[in-house]
Amino acid sequence: MTSTGSDTSATMPTAPGAPPTRPPDPEPIVPAGGIAGLISLVRLVGARLRGGELGSLPVVLGLIVIWTVFQTQNSHFLTANNLTNLALQLAATGTIAVGVFLVLLLGEIDLSVGWVSGLAASVMAVLSVRHGWNPVLAIVAALVLGLIIGAVQGGIFAIVGVPSFVVTLAGFIAWQGVQLKVLGSDGSINLPDGTITKLTSTFFTDATGWGLAAVAIASYVGAQLAEVRARRAAGLRPRPLLEVAGRSAVVAAAGFVAVGVMNDDRGVPLVLVIFLALVIIVDLVTRRTAYGRHVFALGGNIEATRRAGVNVAFIRISVFALASGLAAAGGVLAASRLTGVTQSTGGSDTLLNAIAAAVIGGTSLFGGRGRAWSALLGILVIQSISNGMDLLGLDQSIKFIITGSVLLASVTLDALARRGRRSSGRG
């Protein structure tokens, strides 16, 4: 979008006596409608893509390919029943991936989230089943445990200076041991029907599902329009109305189609709403608060952020605490879906799927780039592959190979996009 040759307009003085005008800004203006508007919008998008601003386009395209392939192989794949199952399956690891997204924004890594989720779920199960705690209290205890673990690991990283890779690798090994200890000789605990299992087995009525979608979409469109109006009032260039309309249409279509499909089966599941709410909250915090801006800044340039007066240690510790806290929440959701915990809860491919989801969704491993939505998109890809291959009855070995290939492809895309950004001067 850096249009050369028109830099000078940015410094043109405002005509005397004129009302505060829109600051000159040589970004290409998208006319508000018509064929010409559409063409220039396409051009704008094309320029962004060439400049390496891929956004979520590759992952959406990938998802379409994956769904098409599985649907042609097994016509049960795109049924309401299976898609609702997909929603139930992705919530737990997706929640963990939201935490991984935060850590990746810093340009760091947290390898312990898998076993932290397992440990938190185990502690919750032990407290509620063996010690008879109120299930809500047990869940809160699990979440607090996650926050504390993250704060400790973050503190060792931020204050002592041990690399995050090593601290969390140690956590990866140690928390697994603690989980074995907590579960004791039985090695597994079944959760009776109750508050915890209801997290997964609760489905909203059709009307509530439609209502939730309508409220969410209306808030989204309303916020977009309010921003356009506020920017216009402030004399700033608003986002083109055509773009707002396009985005709103995509969001509304996705929302209503998803609700329609799930209503066709059991309805919108509570876990999905919990997961989406977490994504939305984290998205707003990272993009709209000073805290989130500091997280992005740290992922860009640590020294500059420190000199700007940001408390670097606080940001780092809190991000690791949030990541482990979200991992604990994911563990609770996983235990709820499986109605119990075992020695392998949070193990196996939990960690790798969570990291892969964040990365596949478009979060840069190099820090400072990404959206919370990448956790949702990425886990959709991973879980679709897993679910589809289960339907086809493929062997676990094939599953791992395919998932690995998709991860490699998406990281390669990130690296290539980075190169594109650099060659178009966007670092």
């Binding site: 850096t2 410094t11 608060t289 500091h294 007066g309 780039r369």
Partner: protein, 298 residues
């Protein structure tokens, strides 16, 4: 005449046995651009660190608007109104210009600064205003800093330092590593800082730049004041001589009209500052520290 914004009196700095600065005086009046020059190891950076709070002096007094103050950390300096723009820019490449300008400047809330909900519209308006008053040319305030030229980045870094309404701006090698046009851009900006009535201290190796925009040149040599020149009446040769120690007679600053900011292109070509050794070499002072003083850190 009003008190200078910042005055240093008898500043000394020791790193163990090494005397990095001895009894240095410096006055930085409002609306004046002072250049601090000297050879490598002359103590320029050490002196700047005493003002910016990074390395407090071992001895001596710092006066701010005539009042003695102690600057024991960067925060003290900032809260007094001393802004430092470091050579390595300190911008986040992944953030756009607006966000770089306001990073760490968010007004605090009841729950601390990080809880602040960002007012992007207000920030963008203020960014436009600030950059316009400084005539900084940026393609768009929403471009990531990574895509800006070196001169634009330096301009953003300088503009950023003005947000806290400082009284003194210290620029550490503002034109190092910049091309000709970009250097002119940054020097223009320095002139505008003076027009805003700020005291400006420029550390530079480039005498052409110094003579283009500065009012006064302070020479440091081996950690001591080694000359004070009024740019309007001094020649680059005199300054070079003071830097290298060839001329032991201090010409002293002569009163004279302040030179209006000239475009960089009218500056006479300068010999590279630290070269051009004179015929007579000054005998090293017996107490002189080695030339590598600046590299010595506690």
């Amino acid at each position: 005449m009003a008190d200078p914004v910042v005055s240093l009196r008898g500043i000394s700095k020791r790193f163990g046995a090494v005397q990095a600065l001895s009894d240095v005086d410096l006055d930085l009046p409002a609306g004046e651009v002072v250049a601090l020059v000297g050879d490598n190891g002359a103590g320029k950076s050490t002196l700047v660190k005493t003002i910016s709070g990074v390395g407090p002096p071992s001895d001596g007094r710092i006066l701010f608007a005539g009042r003695p103050v102690s600057i024991n950390g960067p925060r003290d300096a900032v809260s007094l109104g001393i802004a430092t723009v470091y050579q390595d820019l300190a911008l986040c490449d992944n953030l756009d210009v607006v966000n770089n300008l306001f990073l760490g400047q968010e007004p605090a809330t009841r729950w601390g600064r990080p809880a602040r909900w960002l007012d992007e519209i207000q920030m963008e308006r203020r960014a436009h205003e600030l950059l316009r008053t400084l005539s900084v040319r940026i393609p768009s305030v929403r471009t990531p800093v990574a895509s800006l030229s070196g001169g634009q980045r330096q301009s953003v870094a300088i503009a950023r330092s003005l947000l806290g309404s400082p009284k003194l701006v210290i620029l550490d090698e503002p034109t190092a590593a910049l091309g000709v046009a970009q250097t002119a851009e940054v020097l223009d900006l320095v002139v505008r800082l003076r027009e805003r009535g700020l005291a400006v201290l420029v550390i530079s190796h480039n005498l052409a730049d110094v003579f283009a925009v500065c009012d006064r040149v302070e020479v440091l040599r081996l950690g001591r004041n080694a000359g004070r020149f009024d740019v309007a009446s001094a020649s680059q040769e005199q300054v070079v001589a003071a830097i290298t120690g060839a001329d032991t007679v201090l010409p002293g600053s002569r009163p004279g009209g302040r030179r209006p900011g000239l475009p960089a292109t009218t500056a006479p070509p300068a010999p590279p500052a630290p070269t051009a050794p004179p015929a007579t070499t000054a005998p090293p002072a017996p107490t002189a520290p080695p030339d590598t003083t600046e590299e010595v850190q506690p």
